[in-house]
């Protein structure tokens, strides 16, 4: 028994080491820095009087500053863009995944899946640079519009451009989990529903969607979280008024590590909260399934 426990421990050790060194320790360092004050030229100010530092609430200064109303605009933009990205990815991704999993010829499935994944072979930066070439004033899209007599549109450096880039970048992360859940869906239930007189719409919303709910939730989590922390897309496509919380953290990080760490930690906390809700959902779902 004792030996067994030890073995389990040893088997888990590599996982814990990796998580500890590459995840928990950096997080702890970041959290520690977020309670400090910045010193000159990117340094961190030493604490003179620890007792005063805590009792006077100095250690919360960065959190106080990051919740200043002047940040509201950036947080709000990050939130709505992340939510809109997730919604659009779901709207576009579901039919695509449905087609690949259910409608397409089984012989072609792997080809179609590969096509979803192939963009990953190209660096994300290059793909965003390509979007710039597509959206710019004399870009690919405006040239095409010009050919049919439409004046050039102002597309690059707008929130729409950022949304386009985000949806494009995150879409595969929506399609793949949706595909997985659609693939293993019990299709005999659809036949049963049809036999019992359910129409196509009713069958989709009452049989298909509930059965793929785990894929939908997984897709939402996989899209929403990276979209909330993005800074590359907004940096390249966003323009003067396009900064997201990711940009605020990244730009000038060296100069003010404590404040940026605090903002980064807040973002992590929000994401962590979302994951906790997701975990709770999974837990309850499993219990329900076990009860059936």
């Amino acid at each position: 028994m004792k030996n067994g426990a030890l073995r389990t421990w040893l088997q888990l050790l590599p996982t814990w080491l990796v998580l500890g060194i590459f995840f928990l320790a950096p997080m702890a360092i970041m959290l520690g820095i977020s309670f400090r004050e910045k010193g000159p030229a990117g340094t961190i100010k030493p604490i003179d009087d620890m007792k005063q530092y805590i009792t006077k609430g100095t250690f919360l200064n960065n959190y106080r500053e990051s919740l200043d109303p002047s940040y509201a605009g950036v947080y709000w933009r990050s939130l709505w863009l992340a939510v809109a990205t997730t919604a659009l990815c779901l709207l576009i991704g579901y039919p695509v995944a449905y087609y690949i999993a259910i409608v397409a010829n089984p012989m072609r499935k792997n080809l179609l899946l590969a096509m979803v994944a192939i963009p990953f072979w190209t660096s994300f930066l290059i793909r965003m640079g390509a979007w710039k070439l597509i959206l710019e004033t004399q870009g690919v899209l405006n040239t095409m519009l010009g050919a049919v007599g439409i004046a050039p549109l102002d597309m690059l450096y707008t929130p729409g451009a950022v949304l386009t880039g985000l949806v494009y970048g995150e879409l595969p992360f929506m399609i793949l989990p949706l595909y997985a859940s659609l693939e293993k869906m019990d299709r005999t239930l659809l036949e049963a529903a049809a036999d019992l007189g359910a129409g196509a719409t009713s069958r989709f919303f009452r049989v298909t969607v509930p059965q793929t709910m785990s894929g939908i939730i997984a897709g939402i989590v996989l899209v929403l979280i990276p979209a909330a922390g993005q800074f590359v897309v907004s940096d390249i496509l966003g323009g003067a008024k396009g900064a997201l919380v990711g940009n605020i953290i990244q730009e000038g990080f060296q100069r003010n590590k404590p404040l940026k760490s605090a903002i980064a930690f807040e973002l992590t906390a929000v994401v962590g909260l979302m994951l906790a809700v997701y975990g709770l959902y999974l837990h309850r779902r499993r219990r329900k399934e076990a009860a059936l």
Partner: protein, 355 residues
Amino acid sequence: MRMKFAAVGMLVMAVLGGCKDKGTASTQPGSAQGARVLNVYCWSEYLPQDVRDAFTAKTGIKVNLTLYESNEMLLDKLQSGVSDFDLVVPSDYTVAILKRQNLVQRIDASKIANWKNLDPRLLGRAYDPKNEYAMPCFWGTTGIGFNRQAVGDIDSWKVLFDEKNAGKILMLKDSRECLAVALKVMGKSINETDPAVLRQAGEMLKNQKRLVKVYNSDDFDQTLGRGDVVLAHGFNGQLAKLVASDRAKFGYTVPKEGATLWIDAFCIPAKAKHVAEAHEFLNYLLDPQVGAQLVNQVSYASGNVAARAGIKPEILNDPSIYPSDEVIKRCEVMADVGDQTTELIDKIWQEVMLK
């Protein structure tokens, strides 16, 4: 700083056009046994491959090149204390910061026979008044690149605050450079330290923001060239190349109110292990022929005066690359404004970005 091409731009160009190697390869610093090496930390484009190779062929010293794209990256690397570079190329005010923090060592000019070839106009500047710590390498100005067909000929920073140009303006994503523009419009020095004046300049930038299409320090020349903006606040090097490509359409001006004169200079880090090799390399770069070869390749003005005879006339006579003395006179070199002012500038800039 003026040379940093966005990784994006480079990669896109590499994919779409197949651009030639401009010395972007980064090799790890390391020392082969017995062989002499020199570890250089530098802006992209400054030291082309063939110049490095020729030095190795001549001296047997292997040059390991690592690249960075902002002075802040360089500061961070040296402040962290774990780097083992023998030469770095900070810009003017960064030289002063490195000096103040004892991160660079004196250059022994007596070991550099070609030191006499340095442009006296670049020497004795505030960041290194006695020329002890820095050897000027490339230099230039910060001005406005403009689309002649859209805005005509311009000569003032004020166009960047003009409602007429709303949505057609690009500003550098650089706190010091943007504040310099506002300060110059106010008739102040770019090295102003009075908090009230700096705040006022900050307000100007905040009000200007709604006219600005994008803040960009990387491919501002391309953004102007492709018609996304008609006015681009930027460094002369990249803009000069754009202007040379179509002089009827594009222009570059150093506004009459005055502007930034930037100087990127070689420094030897305090912890450098190959100090002798570093001096040898600096001497090599100051050679007239090598200097000319460098300028002809990178199209930036060089601190090596003796190189002028070998520089292509179209580069030497291009006022956007080699400005006249009159232009140089109305420009200022950025100074280290001290910790307190730097902190205030960071705060103001954050407010502009959040606006």
